[in-house]
Symmetry: C5
Subunit: 353 residues, 5 copies
């Protein structure tokens, strides 16, 4: 939700700008100051500002026309501006002559659907300003400005310090999702190997989210590493380099986990699908075993249902106390029962029933 | 469809050349001028042309003989010319002493068959000229010349600026297809996991197209990166380097997506094939369960169809109001029905029916 | 279990510190000395200590506040301190201006569950001190200090020599687990290919442990290599470089084995799942073969159970010594037995029974 | 088939040499000259030959002794000679002090069996000579010498120019096979996805050939790239570098295709095997469905074959024009027919029949 | 089997040393000389030996104490010595200040079980000595010393020349096994695709051996390449560099083959497992088809076994020459036979029988 533009920020603007500019302020000596006309403030900062004093302008979903009102005074490169307007860029750190353009892909985890949503966050970092552009709903900057305003030392690191804080926020977000995905994977593993009902689409969907995760995180690794590893022209402060190395390290850890998840999910998907087949085969075996048991009395009954003239078993009898008892039927039924029971036990022993 | 050769373009030519040369013109100060004899114009440009003035010659499917008419005056390298005539080259950027030879593989997406078609587009970029050679039907240059002629600033960047515009066009085409393929994949995923009828050949064919996509896009990544990353001898203009970096970045994004698609398609193909087996096994289990149910009354009936002399159930009767009622048959049929119903319920509970 | 703080270690401390500081001592000329106030000792070491004299402070699960008491006097970098407090870092070697920060992931193998547990061990190595921070239960440092105190030559290598001893300990632990996992894998292989009962979850779980193993070991390879391969600013002693190369080599060997295990486990999981299906199919074939055998007498009996007016076999008889013998029934039962036996033999020959 | 040794080639030789030396000649100014004693000719070339004049000696399956006769005068390195005699080398480009040794693996495609056969071709390239050694039957050099003799400009490029022509020939051969394999793969794909009868061994065998293809082509990529990319000591001519780059580019294209084929074949093999299982399961379902249909009348008939004293359906009758008509049998048979037809339709609707 | 220690080798030694030292000698000018006290001989060699003169000491399974007797005089690095004593190292080439330590993993192929056994062979190469340490039974050095003693030129290359001969021997051993494994793979392929009986464990075991093969061969590739590719401090002789390049090339060829085997084995294992399933499914289909055939007469017989009052077929008769012939039974049996035959033919046509 865009907060109203800083009232102290002098210049008259079209009404839509009030919606686009989420916040803007001047930070001098680590303290927030109201900011007047952008070009005047910039000129003043450049001529007489203390090191680390800068402007921070926060935009949200600007159109080209809206962005131009800001850009007229900052002189950003049109290619970077085009990326910021169009969106759907990959994560990157691009150096221009007088500024650095950074695209971040903050992630959001939707608990109910285990879905990862990719947002977009762009930063233009100049000598005396930082412009942050948020696209879409995921808004990881909420609260960050407030937290930084309570930490003058961080603000005194200037625009690159703010950039660090933002990248740190995004990467911390990755770490949270890393754990969520880890939990989801463990949950899936438990269910797959406990024959608990799980749908193969659940597994596949997590795999898809993991790839989305990777696409957000992996491209950032190399440029973030470059920010601290070499004599980067825009990160001259030694402390800042260590800070970027710290974030870079966390990012690396996340990427390694994501790679593991990807491998494991392929295996667990295969295992699940095989498991289902195994279960079904096991059911089939059980059904067939029962049919086989039933086939025995059916066969025997068929034999004694034949109409031959002379079948001695049919008329077999014993003399019990003078009464002729035809025991054939009882003998055969007993035989059937014994045969069935024997089969049942054998199948039970084989684990087929 | 080749437009007629620029009327102002003096030299007499064989009739076939009119079909081969799609368009040619001289651009001075960002404005189109008619072009006379090629070698005269080139000599004039080289001696007294302003920086950024150049010739642009557009050819289509030239034969070696036809190309020679143009080449006599431009002095291109025979190896590059051979590639342009023969076609079927891989995407590349080749440096020659006085020119750069670029092969691009524009892609076209055929909606109805979800097929990707690979075209071919070659560019010879010299100090004062660019020759573009189209092969096959896919014609991504239609409209580009017109659009550039309306943008004098772009034209003033000279032949390398035109090359950038062309590469940008091709890579923008990749991005469109990237989204199409993404949609196709999502569609396949939905159908695979909803047991909607899908053919495994559909999945495999998309995988094939993805590999074709990769073959077109991936080889361009390294040379395109070289065009902006290092002190490339042919890209001395700083702005142009930034422009090539921009295209390079978009290409990288496309390649990353294509890699994801490839991985996901392997998984989804495996999942689909397993799914089909699972469905069939499930059908078999259902059929077998019904057969098992039918086996029970068959067995019982067999028993009471035996011809033993004395089978008490057959003649069992009760006295109902003085009438002897033989209830055996009814009892057994009831028993059968109860057994079948019991089995049916048990199978239903197990999810087998 | 934290041993009590070295009694000789002068300064008064809060009671909790006694639990956090496992041990601390000064090592001069390879011999243990009691250590007084940290900053005094350090200053003395820096001004007049012999090369290789240093302080060794051992902590366990310190909180930020607790760590600060130590850190106030050592001047460690806040980012490294934050990692040591928070834990859950990846294995790494980070250079700071005046110290090296090392994160190690010692592993512990739980025999009964074949589970690998990952611990965490951090080291801050300065010019004249080493701080070791243990997290969690796995405590590979137990005994190491004692062993080193018995080896003055090793102690004379200074803090970096202690670091080597620790890394060596951790990597030796990896080698032990490497063998355990190798044994587990061989055990699984034997059981899979001998149709001995094995659960697919057992295989999958080992695969998971192998990935955990890799995550602990692999990230250490590059920085450990850097410690000996190049002119590393913190490893100036030639002997020490050879020592680190030795550990690095063992680590490499472990990583290669782990890669092999991973590949083999994927194959063995696939083979196992296929094996199970094959076994089940084999059972089904056996059951079906028996049902097929039973179907023959059932069919024949059905035929002779028909009620046609004239069925010659039913009344066929021979005259045996004047007595009319109806042999039909016996002939048919014999026929049935012969047919069943024939089928049984045929199925036996095909390996179906 | 070895042509007779150039008659003008003076020195007396053993008879076997006539079989081993396929052809030898001196090329001066791009024209073929007869060649006398090897060492005399070489010495003359080295002292007074124009640039680009050289000897070309063609051998076939030489033994060490035979080769020594040639080598005595050329001073080749024993290690290279050993490789040429022993054969079964991998494709490579090896630099020696005064010569380059190149091993090529020409491929031959056997249409009837879709088999790829790997040959072997070695070249020793010196300052003033090239020795080509053919092993085995595949003889890609047939015709090449003739074609080159008709192209003096190519011959004037000297021994390295001949090497280029040979490598070009071999790589052009790869391109032909690339297309053949592509066609075979498409054929396999069509048959797999049209349920046309295809054997899994056909797919596997193509995969094997593809790996053989890769083994021939891939190792050549890096050294061929080195021949043109860097300041290679043996390729000082700029034109020649461009020529080698051209071949290198074609080789790269072939390798990329081969990689695609490999990936696709793995997928298509998996898909085929799954397809077969699916087809078999489908047959089983059909058979079982028919058995299930037959089970219904069997069950009903069994019931009415029971011998109960009183079964009203058996004696049910209506009075039709005074005649008592027992309709029971007809009713039941009709019922059976209706039940079977109903099942048949239901199974048909489910796609089981 | 250790040969007795060279009698001429002066110094008194403990009896166990006679078992540990397989052989030792001094080689001067390519000729074997008896060797006296090690340190005396070394000092003499260093002060006045001709280039290429050296000591060669061969050990077998030495303990640390035993090795120390030798090492006291050679001054090897303790870390290398530790590796040589402990064994179970990975293949490597380690540079120390005054010597090179090489670990090789010779392989032995056990024909009967198709098993590959990994041995271990260590070499310490100094300026004037080479120490070879054999571990385990596989003894690839048997005969090598003899062969070298017959080749003075090779011996004159000094200790590094002996190292080359040893590495060459080991890699030649790899090539032999490469072919054995290739043959085993072809055998497996033939059996898998000819439905010849093959056990999946056979395939898996070969895969395991291939991985063992790779672990032995692959780690050697990079250091062996370094030995010849760069200005290696220990290989200053140009000829020697070419010799190492030759071995390196053969090793590379082996590694490429091993990679192919690995890929193919994965595919062939999958294909085999699928093949078995397909065969079993085919058996099931055959059995079910026979059961389906038997179900038809069973059903028909059931119908005519019903006890309805009026079933016209049962009493159907024709008047044949005045005699009433009840043909019903014969008609029905004929009908049954015809139906079974029809089914049999249909199933035969579908390939189900
Ligand atoms: Mg994108
Ligand atoms: Mg998502
Ligand atoms: Mg963070
Ligand atoms: Mg969750
Ligand atoms: Mg950190
Ligand atoms: Mg499966
Ligand atoms: Mg091509
Ligand atoms: Mg296509
Ligand atoms: Mg674009
Ligand atoms: Mg579509
Ligand atoms: Mg394709
Ligand atoms: Mg862009
Ligand atoms: Mg972690
Ligand atoms: Mg664990
Ligand atoms: Mg160790
Ligand atoms: Mg164990
Ligand atoms: Mg485990
Ligand atoms: Mg070691
Ligand atoms: Mg497998
Ligand atoms: Mg299966
Ligand atoms: Mg070979
Ligand atoms: Mg072949
Ligand atoms: Mg060619
Ligand atoms: Mg063919
Ligand atoms: Mg070409
Ligand atoms: Mg399958
Ligand atoms: Mg080992
Ligand atoms: Mg083995
Ligand atoms: Mg060899
Ligand atoms: Mg064998
Ligand atoms: Mg060789």
């Amino acid at each position: 939700m865009p907060r109203a533009v800083d009232a102290a920020c002098g210049r008259r603007r079209s009404d839509t700008m009030a919606l686009v500019i989420v916040d803007q302020a001047l930070y001098a000596g680590g303290t927030r100051r109201p900011c007047g006309d952008l070009s005047d403030e910039l000129a003043a900062l450049r001529s007489s500002g203390a090191p680390g004093d800068f402007l921070w302008i926060g935009l949200k979903d600007p159109t080209l026309a809206e962005f131009d009102e800001v850009n007229d005074e900052l002189g950003l490169h049109p290619l970077a501006v085009e990326d910021a307007i169009k969106g759907r860029q990959r994560a990157k750190v691009e150096l221009y002559d007088t500024s650095v353009f950074v695209v971040l892909k903050p992630l959001r985890y939707v608990e109910e659907s285990s879905d990862i949503e990719t947002g977009e966050l762009m930063c233009f970092v100049g000598d005396r300003f930082i412009v942050t552009v948020r696209r879409g709903e995921a808004s990881p900057l909420t609260g960050l400005r407030h937290r930084l305003e309570a930490d003058p030392e961080a603000l005194r690191r200037g625009p690159m310090g703010v950039l660090h804080a933002i990248v740190d926020l995004v990467v911390d977000g990755y770490r949270v999702i890393d754990e969520e995905v880890g939990t989801d994977l463990e949950d899936i593993e438990t269910r797959v190997f406990s024959d608990d009902g799980i749908d193969s689409s659940t597994i596949y969907r997590l795999k898809r989210e993991v790839l989305e995760f990777r696409r957000a995180a992996a491209p950032l690794a190399a440029p973030l590493h470059a920010l601290h590893a070499t004599d980067h022209p825009h990160v001259t402060d030694h402390e800042l380099r260590l800070l970027f190395r710290d974030v870079s390290d966390h990012l690396q850890s996340v990427i390694e986990h994501v790679e593991s998840y990807d491998r494991l999910l392929t295996d667990v998907l295969g295992a699940h699908l095989a498991q289902v087949t195994v279960q079904q085969n096991s059911d089939m075996r059980r059904i067939s075993a029962w049919v086989a048991i039933a086939a025995v009395p059916t066969m025997v009954a068929g034999i004694y249902g034949m109409n031959f003239e002379f079948m001695p078993e049919l008329v077999a009898s014993v003399d019990v106390g003078g009464r002729e008892v035809h025991y054939g039927y009882f003998a055969v039924v007993t035989l059937m029962a014994v045969a069935c029971l024997g089969l049942f036990r054998a199948f039970k022993r084989s684990g087929w029933l």
